[in-house]
Point group: C2
Chain length 757, copies 2
């Protein structure tokens, strides 16, 4: 996630909140967290709300408010004023309604979600019995299995499918590496301390919370005044230390205990330790995995037989010592990332496989739309690159691949968009950046960065270590023109003195950039002087020696295009997108994980605790285990309906039930989670069918067409099934034995002869 941080190092950091943290589901969403996220994302959320132009409604309110104020000023009274005020009230109500409709929390039962996530141990506060640690969470069994499958899918979708070079580098990182990358100096948040107690606070958060409280306490505050406070609030994390200090003083903000605060000062967010016994070798826990790949560039290039382009990838941990992680899951101190560094010729960013994805439609929220219409557009990535909206094919290729990956693991495409970084957000060297944002009940969350970082990363390490970080490529033998400065150095020395070195460096750089050189020369010829790197040079100083050489090899520092995944955020978003409650029963939570990522693929239930079912249950588990279909047998004494519900809660897509008929004829029922439909088939046919459903993404529909459908009408009860017409026409009779009933076709079906494609 170098993009996240490196951008912050060198830019106006006005989106730092979204880039800073990592998601991890938690049981406690503080009201403060919710407010924080809603506030940050309100404008954007509203703008992009489904079809309703919230911005237009807001503008109408603003206009009508102005009208009313003007009328009052002009002394208008009576019916005319009353009508205008009524119109304003109406406009405000329309806006409020639209905003409420746009708020994603309304379509999502967070209470049921949180209850299920906590109760079924998707997530636990780390070291809970010892009092816990803010910002640290453990993944319990269902989330752990889900994450393993997401990571596995990622590895197949990116590393294996694209022949990427995967590495595993260490988390412990020595000072020199992170000093070079800029993290030691710039990877900071502004902190203030209670001068009496020393208690630390994140300065921007204090300001934001203070303004929230101020506005809540003064609902009658004039709109313009409130808007001014909001403007300050929105920029809270963009101020320089002294600016922010002045603002905190202006607002009279104190510590939680009411004491004075220190001046804001930068606090480095890396966890520091010492490596080795001397206590002198400072090291850090890496804030991103990318640096490990950059420092290995030379060896990776060699592994790839010297050829560029190629991509390296790494899945691993990152760490951030947050000042105030609060309880939310979107800012944690330890998180999993998956990063790709695609090395490519800086002037040839075409991608050979781009045609494969060119027709993929993405939802793009470009720079101009963010500043203008406030609306996203749906456009093929091919058109977006052609139009220059997305800088180049390789960047566009990865955006499309990310979209496909997220769809593959089951993310809702309607709640995904790519937001382009504003010019002020990007590092000076970066060519273009697009964040995949996923809509959750907390608003739009940045989950995957896509950055064209140019040559920056390789260059800083090369400069520091004096190790060449270049690739070469053969070209057709051709004549090439070279320029070398050949002007009046003495005159330059007299003019620029100590700055001569800087001017010379600028001239050397100019020598390699022929179009710029020509423009510069033209200007010198016309005006007699020209600006260069902040200095004015004149015609008399400048001359060039021009040579022509036969060239067969070109050396270059590759550009880096970096897709960077916050796996924890992806995991959390997927949990939200997958959750629903059974219609008419909010107590029954279900995760609709697709079979490929579901932690358990198939539950196995004996109809009751009767020992007669055990051998067949074991056989089913064994058969499915042999084809790598993960199963879990629940032989607890509770009703079948209760066990179905339990399996639903952790998103198990299929369930096999072994009943009395099974013991007789080796057939079982197979139930699909979302439709709750059941089919009956021979045990021997299960492996092929489940391999198709789980690994080959066959549709359940196909299974119901091949095998007889049986239906259980009361999943809530004891698992007994009322008679039901079999969907494909075969009649069903009902048997009842040992207190449990099940349906089956009246005529025996030789399921062993049915084959699933």
């Amino acid at each position: 996630m170098v993009s996240f941080h490196a951008f912050r190092l060198l830019m106006t950091p006005d989106r730092r909140h979204q880039v800073r943290a990592e998601s991890c589901p938690t049981e406690s969403w503080s009201a403060q967290d919710r407010r924080c996220w809603q506030r940050r994302t309100a404008a954007v959320t509203a703008a992009a709300a489904d079809g309703v132009d919230v911005d237009a409604l807001a503008a109408a309110v603003t206009r009508q408010g102005a009208t009313v104020r003007q009328m009052k000023k002009d002394g208008v009274t009576g019916d005319e004023l009353v009508a205008a005020v009524a119109k304003l009230t109406e406009a405000k109500a329309a806006l409020a309604q639209a905003q409420a409709q746009a708020a994603p929390t309304d379509t999502f039962d967070r209470k049921a979600f949180e209850d299920t996530v906590v109760r079924r141990m998707f997530v636990v506060p780390s070291f809970e019995i010892h009092g816990g640690v803010a910002g640290l969470f453990d993944l319990g069994p269902p989330a752990c299995g889900l994450k393993a499958n997401i990571v596995d899918t990622w590895r197949k979708h990116f590393v294996l499918a694209e022949n990427m070079l995967e590495m595993e580098c260490t988390n412990l990182t020595p000072h020199a590496v992170l000093k070079t990358s800029g993290h030691v100096d710039k990877f900071t948040d502004l902190m203030v301390k209670d001068v009496a107690t020393g208690e630390p606070f994140r300065a921007d958060k204090l300001l934001e919370d203070h303004i929230d409280a101020l506005l809540e306490a003064n609902p009658a505050m004039p709109r313009e005044e409130a808007e001014e406070h909001r403007r300050v609030q929105r920029q809270a994390d963009a101020y320089a230390p002294d600016e922010l200090g002045a603002i905190l003083r202006k607002y009279g903000i104190k510590s939680a205990l009411g004491n004075d605060l220190s001046e804001p000062f930068p606090f480095n967010l890396m966890f520091k330790t010492t490596i080795g016994p001397e206590g002198t070798s400072v090291g850090y826990l890496r804030p991103e995995t990318a640096q490990g790949l950059f420092v290995n560039f030379r060896r990776l290039l060699e592994y790839n037989s010297g050829r560029v382009p190629f991509a390296a990838a790494q899945i691993g941990l990152g760490f951030r010592n947050e000042i105030a992680p609060r309880n939310g899951l979107l800012r944690v101190r330890e998180f999993t990332m998956a990063e790709i560094e695609h090395f490519v010729h800086p002037k040839h960013k075409e991608h050979p496989n781009f045609p494969d994805v060119a027709d993929k439609v993405l939802t793009l929220f470009g720079r101009e739309d963010q500043l203008g219409s406030g609306r996203t557009q749906n456009i093929t990535i091919g058109d977006a690159v052609r139009a220059g909206l997305v800088n180049n094919e390789t960047l566009g290729y990865f955006m499309a691949r990310t979209q496909l990956f997220l769809e593959k693991i089951g993310m809702d495409p309607l709640r995904m968009r790519f937001r382009q970084h504003l010019a002020t957000e990007m590092a000076h060297y970066a060519a273009d950046c697009w964040d995949m944002e996923i809509k959750t009940s907390f608003g739009w969350v940045e989950c995957v960065g896509h950055a064209d970082r140019a040559c920056y990363d390789l260059q800083v390490h090369a400069e520091k270590t004096k190790v060449a970080m270049v690739a070469a490529r053969m070209t057709e033998p051709h004549m090439e023109t070279f320029y070398k400065f050949n002007g009046d150095k003495k005159r330059m020395g007299t003019t620029f003195k100590a700055n001569q070195k800087a001017v010379m460096a600028a001239l050397d750089a100019l020598a390699d950039d022929h179009p710029a050189l020509e423009a510069f020369e033209a200007k010198l010829d016309t005006d007699g002087s020209a600006e260069l790197a902040g200095f004015t040079v004149d015609r008399a100083m400048i001359a060039w020696k021009k040579t022509e050489k036969m060239v067969q090899e070109e050396k270059f520092t590759p550009s880096v295009i970096e897709p960077s995944f916050g796996i924890g955020r992806v995991l959390y978003s997927l949990l939200e997108h997958s959750f629903y409650t059974r219609e008419g029963d909010e107590q029954r939570g279900v995760f609709r994980f697709n079979a490929a990522v579901a932690p358990i693929k198939c539950a196995i239930f004996p109809l009751s605790a009767n020992d007669a079912f055990n051998p067949l249950c074991s056989e089913v588990a064994k058969l499915l285990g042999a084809v790598d279909v993960a199963t879990r047998t629940d032989a607890s004494g509770v009703s079948l309906g209760r066990r179905y519900a339990r399996a639903d809660e952790i998103g198990v897509p299929f369930a096999v039930t072994v009943d009395f008929q099974s013991v007789e004829d080796n057939t079982v029922t197979l139930r699909e989670r979302d439709s709750m439909a059941q089919i009956r088939l021979a045990v021997a046919a299960l492996p092929d069918l489940l391999v198709s459903l789980v690994f080959r993404r066959a549709a359940w529909q196909q299974a119901t067409e091949r095998f007889p459908v049986v239906r259980s009408e009361d999943e809530e009860g004891d698992g007994s099934a009322a008679p039901a017409a079999v969907a494909n026409g075969a009649p069903t009779k009902v048997e009842r034995s040992a207190g449990a009933a099940f349906s089956r076709p009246a005529t025996a079906i030789d399921t062993s002869t049915l084959r699933f494609p």
Copy 2:
């Protein structure tokens, strides 16, 4: 790996070297490292050498040496003495020869191995271009893929097949947790510092190296004297600080610069950091993953519906701030572990699936054999448990499962054994411990610990946090007898004074242990007094109040049985066991990874750089990708033979070659790595065949029986194949085009109709 460390905390730590580190392949094996390992493992290695009784030969040398010395002492001279000396010389030669044969380095080409491992980027020193950091290594692409597959196999073999509850806990761990576990106080090595420069050294290593040098410099040293030095050396890491200080002084050991050394003092091996901005919350990087599972016991139990036994598992990192990691790969500072904590009733350690493994033959090196014969025994785990050699079924079950796992990933069964911990190695609370040791060119390396840790871990956390860590089980309602001390406390007070509390505690413990209580009472009745916890109590003091109660539920603190895998060491051992060079060509290294763990399953080669081959190559890649078979296409211009060799070097088991015939008839050749045999088959038949070979572990033999075999005679050359008889009888004709030749059956074969099982 709690076993490794917790054992150290509470025991005579005479095997600390083997338990302390983690393996990771490296390019540089220092001579020192090699010596260290050979020394540590020499006795054991020699004893277990294949069939040759090295110990007996050594004993013969000792006896003959004694005879010669006695003869000299007795004044014997002349022929008689000469003959005795000759016999001694002969015995020494026989011993030397046996030892040389037993040394595993002789059957393993380490130079070729290291060359391949480094050249093909299995491993890289971390942050190499910035000067590197001792004890940190990165895994490059082939090792990274291999490790991912080992971990995936582990997850399927243990977590999924056994319904374990997998968790992912954080690496950052607060002080309180590791203080409770004992790591803050006891997870140390002894360190000395150069008093002049402050340079730190690991004290035991200094002593060991000094004795090595001493013995090398004095080859004529009398055997007994040398043996005494060796004895000191073997115990180097078992001395208390003051003992070790005295020994360092006795040997006159100085620092590397010749300066005096400080007294040895304990150095904690955990990486320390602070969590949060206050700088006061001390945290550490976890030294093992186990603690995360222990502190979550309550929630895991609830997740498992309150039922015991169950197992929790975790795969993740561990960290050790080694004082002197040297360059070796067996002591690194950051490593991957996979740990299982199986919670079970302390008095019911039967395992329901034990019958499944009872007949598995394991090589056991029991406590008595280590002290006696020096020989291992091959015995079924069923017999071992029945005989009481292995303490209980659950421990035995996991030992067998570990053996099966290691065999599954391709470890050589002849180079695996289980070594039981000596009584002095075990923690006082532990019931039994067996280490899976794997033989490498460095000797026997402990790779997996299997420990029955009784209730220790849950108890310490429960005590500290006051959170109950107990499970309950229903029992048939039954009467149970309870005893309560009811004797003469006054008399005890007079007798034991300050010790009364200790005696009372011992009596309370006795009250719960009915057989011990009965024996104690019998002794009191017979002798009038008895020993208890080191005190003598007499008949007149002791009486009990006996009650009977109806009991339906039993509460208990579960015992923990812990298999703990050092994944890095497993990975390294597998690399060694898998490596060989082609007969007659030491330049051609091959890794014989089985298809299931190989990082790339199938290489795809166009016969030449001719563009005509590309579409079919892409199609093959796509077809195989769709069934999750990882491929890598090598379309570089070098010869086919060279590309086969390259694929061999990273252990790719299969290679598809697309040639001119392919373009005509959609058939390709498939080459198997170890036999170098090739078959020809339709492209459409590839997915099924490779799924069988890779995921279903079908034998290559089956493939050669189903499809026509073609043979390339010169893999070293340009990939041209001489005419060869097709194994299954079909004649072969040779075509030669574009400078490359290949064999194919003379008659067209409709391969599309051939199906692989």
